[in-house]
Assembly symmetry: D2
Homo-oligomer: 459 residues x 4
């Protein structure tokens, strides 16, 4: 996963991009980069780490110009390296192309092999570099509308893009609309962002989402649009609502907090429980737990306190501390839990190991019974469109029955939200959302292997 | 304010101290230090910043020994400097004295002036250095019981201390018991900590609080105790419960989260409101808001989302962003607030300026009415015992009526919890707690001026 | 100017490269990089600054493999940036090409424009990237002999190269042989280096120079060679002997210290002076001054002491210190200079401003007369082959007579070595060396403008 | 060994001190510190490392005020720690005492034990802290003349001091004058410095040395002086001239370079050799080698080139490089050495191990014979006055005959300068200089053990 952001038409372009990336930090904590454009001069600042640590007053001041774009990158095992920091920047025929990409192309390897055969050299293993090469090989000098349309039609899979070509800002979304991307305005300036929370922070006004298959070109003449050929369905990533996006954001035109509360309410209807308290696992389960508590009338309590100072890895003392990793982040409140029948609302279960540790910690703090309700169905299939799910091998749901998972985690009961219940809560027809991770039914032909894995092995 | 921690009898002493300080980080974010003792060798590691950034595997490994103590320090304006990092360490007659102090001596300046007259030189402006000088000037070589008792009897004001004298760990609390300090055990090891949350993290078992006026000596022969002359009352700092301590801690033998919920319930009884939703200001008002919502039956909602990545100061873009400081930390959820009558529960109001910005932000997000309920009485007097309240000049409550404060903050209504209601919720007789900041009635004679201010001017 | 280094066949390849670059540090202080190859894995470490500060035990250990190459880069105004650090590395058809380049191509811009037209994108403004693109566009997959020969034949200007293609180490020198490059052996390993001092440090044995127009391929089958079409003359850079190379190196098969002493002797014959002492400007003029003193029988004295701790720029106090920059580096010894007729031997004069400050400093220290002898002719033309001479505009010799230069610097007398005298001292026929900077006669057609300047403006 | 520096009366006081310390860097590379005084405010900046790396524009700007003092500290094994960085600063009776010390007290431990008995606590193991405690315990508030005289009379051993007491700058030298300290003027400002090279750099004019036993007080009323009781002899450290001071400095009123050349000439007279070339070990033997060459008429050559980029420790490759440490610093020039009878002039031999490695390196480079002449007598006794000589156990001269040393180092011949010859060359009567390290005759009663060692063990 990644977060992307762009600004056209503000003398604070880089400063605003910095704030936008800060608001999108949850979409990628591994690395970040900003590129700014100032009368044909390109300036760039990037690094491994959090937005807050990478940029300072001096570096932001140096990123002059009224066009800028930025990117935050998620840490996936193995591929975290300096050369893969985005936005990707290249020089071409006396100009520049910069690109920030969120999503995953399913034909990346095929495209790359074709171009290598013709003599292209690659610096990184990123999809965004492939897109730049395709653009550079197209005929036109200017990356105008036709060139870009032709290039994007060769791409398969998920992409939300923010690009900068010689001072023009471009936003694009694949025809299925897997990943979100929205347009905002701040005075005369245009803003593009993965989520609306980034607009909120800079007081920009949300205008609309970029539509699936839409490309917007923003320059001194304003915003123009073009469209890729239409698909007969959409494939919004439902996991954005369930887990990934910030609760104060709207994605796919709906507020995430409200959706999550609704998921919690639906869950309470489908899978009620006779308990004394409802508690979330902070902070991801907060909203659904509130919904569950409201619907079930069971009191909502804060059973665990999150430590806000969590940073680097901690050194485990030799004197064994059980479930050390949980405790460093979350401390149970004994007085709340003691002797209680506790219902935990979780947003999702991936491997189950984290839940297991937490449940142990809660039991040690005195909980009498522990029940879990999960606000989405079991995750049974990998994602090829950008969510970093482990391979099937590492997912717990494809390998165990719900009863086995319950025992693995150490629960008195465990229930999941149904696929239909989930869609009902979200209030959308099935064909608008990609639910492949829950159903195994993919909206596009999945690749045999992820190109990322192959390319990284070559590295 | 500060947090203190000590371990005796574990080969992981420094590692455990590191974790203890991490759990106590909320008590002081400015600087931290750890001192460890290993067969007559003292090793020390310290610096400005957060625990997580200051210590790493290498530095912790180097802090060998099975006795250690540590300190986190709060940032008060002007006095934040490297030389004032605690624990304070001194060499004396071939041995070492290390001391970590939480609280504020009211006769510090007088004691210091006396010793300077006799030729003592000072490195810092800290109370803990004064205590070390007093000890060094005492007759005995060993800082045994009598020496220490004599020394502590010369101190006035608030002090919870963790000390290390030639490998012995010592804990002490002033006769009024202003600041908390508790004893835990981890296997054969003893642990001293400001709050129980620090014991929880390392899986140490809470044994009891050190009593007001009690001194405990811990060495290879176990724990012995001594007592300073008794006072006729106690003066536990009520602000620990209201704001300062972590909700998962117990201080003065009561769980903070439960107390805060109770304060919220009492507040709902005393000052009900006809509203659509109850919301906290995350995270400090969470517990009281839950209590208020439960008692009032008004739905509890999360109206603002906290950004967990808050770090350094941000650079405000020239393009004016209203209430920038609020938005960087908290983003309102428009869909929750729009058209609603909102009741905010705050734990306390000091200057009122932060509340004012937040209320503005909520109004801009669409709230129809905004009411505020505060889970303590108005703060009208400065604290001489260690809470960093601004001087009377900067407090809003001594200068304005509640109606004026309401208008300053921009509220539809504002009500505070009563002093009696507060004590009732806490379930303690008045004479157990220091409520000087709410009543102006001090448990000890207050100093004319704070020695800190005088000494820092001299610097 | 730059320094290049490569190793094939040692398990310490990166460590040895690190030492090699350290020995070549005088050829480029701006940035450095090392790339190592280990069974198809490429690892890279680089940065701005000195070799000693960039690499540590941890980074060198991580650069596993028995093939490595490295580069140190000179700081030329404007182009000092992170993306221009060498060696340049690219991925191509599942393999890697790494290249370290010393010299300057005179047809770089033309080649680049051609490839951009065909869709190539560029990351940097470096010549080495152009060479990699040329190679990638060639037909063969393997960068075998024919491909490489064809590619190098398209290059014009000066290049000494160390390359690594999928684990094979390649060295090459342009047909004129502008820049040095030699071969050494360390046990079974092969070593390539700009100067022999890099071989000395690692105890490698000097074998021979790579010949002008020669390419050597080193892999598990040993060393093979190929040759570009011959040119009718050579064009060794005479400035390597006069100023650039280290005195303990041999370049173009002659020891630099001995050559410089010989230049000093020849200078004493051509331009004697009636003085009391001969002194160098440390350290560059040391060797020539010793030669001058020997020939002239005038005592050699150290009139200025060099400060070995020179680092960052110093802050000039407001209280004006005359010739501050000189004094920070060199302090005159009053007792040596007082009342003396001093003869300074300089290796070369570029702008004349530094000499001017030094002469002033010596006069203030009491020198009665100051004479200067320069161990090369006046520099009247820019260099297109890699020496970073300022443009004609900034050189003093094209604009002033020797008498005017003498007065500008503030000397009692000034004399230069003659072109013929210089060649005689070096003991080589004119057609072996490029003397364009002294004569304006270039061995190849010079470009209208340097591509570097054009490309950097575009950036 | 250490270097000390102070300025009174310049608004650039800290900047000038920074430059002064930079010029004195050779006297101590381990740590450095500067303290500045500005209308009762004291500011301090210090750290481990070189002057150039520790201070930058920002830190120097912050050190406001027109009085400043500074210190560079030598790295002696074991005691290199942050708390021992000088100048030492203490607060006392509302004022400040700062002190920078060069030398070694022989009664430090005794004084410290006395004060500890009376209740003083110590932060460091430094002599300077002892002096501050003595001052603080004296009656007067002002550290006026009488107080200071009384305090200094209690000190035994070597001390050159620069102090700052509430804005007054004080310089003092022990009655034997072991360590140098001189006075300069820069406009209206006064400057104190260990060596004159520090005056030169800032264009200050050398006025005179502070005399043995003299104290100077500098404030707004100018310079006043006082004197400790006279001793019947002086004990200038002869090692300053032989090795320690910079050649461009004058210490004890004589230029070091001239003295060293004279030592070389005397050596050539006492111990001639039939050789082809004379060479120094750069850079310490340069001056004596020039003197030897002049007197002996044997040509002076540079046989080894020093690498100016020497920094951190290097990682030795596993592929064994003989005498790696030598080669990293010094590279022999084969063309100079091959087949030659080489005479090396060394300033001194301590352990002999370094010389041994260098001689091996020279032999491998082809030298036919290698002879060594040393410009001082054999070092047979430890120094208690501040030169960091290893204990007798580690010195080579007390344990081996000259013939054995010759064989250990691997020389064809080895000769030392005689004690009388040394004093003759320096042109001073024996009773002016301390020659204890050569003769074992100490000018004052030596301590049984060095207090430093005892105190550090306690730490």
């Amino acid at each position: 996963m990644c977060g992307i952001f762009g600004v056209y038409g503000s003398k604070d372009a880089a400063l605003l991009t910095h704030l936008g990336l800060y608001a999108l930090q949850h979409r990628g904590e591994e690395s970040a980069g900003i590129i700014a454009y100032d009368s044909k001069k390109i300036r760039q600042c990037q690094g491994m780490g959090l937005v807050n640590d990478l940029f300072d007053q001096k570096s932001l001041k140096s990123l002059r110009g009224n066009v800028a774009l930025g990117h935050v990158r998620y840490s996936t095992t193995g591929s975290s390296s300096i050369e893969n920091i985005q936005p990707f920047l290249a020089k071409h025929k006396g100009g520049h192309i910069a690109i920030a990409h969120n999503g995953n192309l399913t034909n990346a390897l095929k495209l790359r092999r074709e171009m290598e055969k013709e003599g292209s050299i690659f610096q990184t293993t990123m999809d965004s570099e492939i897109i730049v090469h395709l653009l550079a090989r197209s005929s036109g000098r200017d990356c105008k509308k036709t060139t870009l349309l032709a290039t994007l039609q060769r791409l398969e899979g998920a992409y939300s893009l923010v690009m900068m070509v010689d001072g023009m800002l471009i936003g694009a979304r694949d025809p299925y609309g897997f990943r979100p991307l929205c347009i905002g305005r701040l005075g005369q300036a245009y803003v593009l962002a993965s989520e609306t929370c980034a607009l909120d922070l800079i007081h920009a006004k949300y205008i609309r989402d970029i539509e699936p298959g839409e490309i917007v070109f923003i320059d001194k003449d304003g915003l123009r649009r073009a469209n890729l050929p239409k698909k007969d369905k959409r494939a919004f990533c439902i996991f954005e609502h369930i887990y990934f996006a910030r609760p104060d954001s709207s994605v796919f035109e709906k507020n995430v907090y409200m959706i999550r509360k609704q998921l919690g309410r639906q869950l309470a209807k489908e899978a009620p429980a006779d308990c004394d308290i409802v508690m979330p696992i902070p902070d991801s389960g907060n909203s659904a737990a509130l919904g569950f508590a409201e619907e079930s009338k069971i009191p909502f309590e804060v059973g665990m306190i999150r430590n806000h100072y969590v940073g680097r890895t901690f050194i485990q003392p030799s004197q064994h501390i059980r479930d050390f990793k949980v405790k460093v982040k979350l401390n149970p409140i004994r007085e709340v839990l003691k002797g209680k029948r506790v219902l935990i609302v979780e947003d999702s279960i991936v491997r189950g190991t984290t839940s297991r540790s937490r449940v142990k910690t809660l039991r040690e703090a005195g909980a009498k019974e522990i029940h879990m309700r999960v606000s989405c169905p079991p995750i049974i299939s990998p994602c090829y469109y950008g969510i970093d799910f482990p391979t099937t091998k590492e997912l717990i749901a494809p390998k165990k029955t719900i009863r086995q998972i319950r025992d693995f985690i150490g629960l008195n009961s465990l229930k999941y939200l149904s696929l239909d219940g989930m869609l009902k809560a979200i209030g959308s027809p099935k064909r608008e959302f990609c639910t492949a991770c829950f159903s195994g039914v993919y909206p596009t032909k999945p690749p045999k292997r992820l190109s990322k894995d192959i390319l990284e092995k070559e590295n």
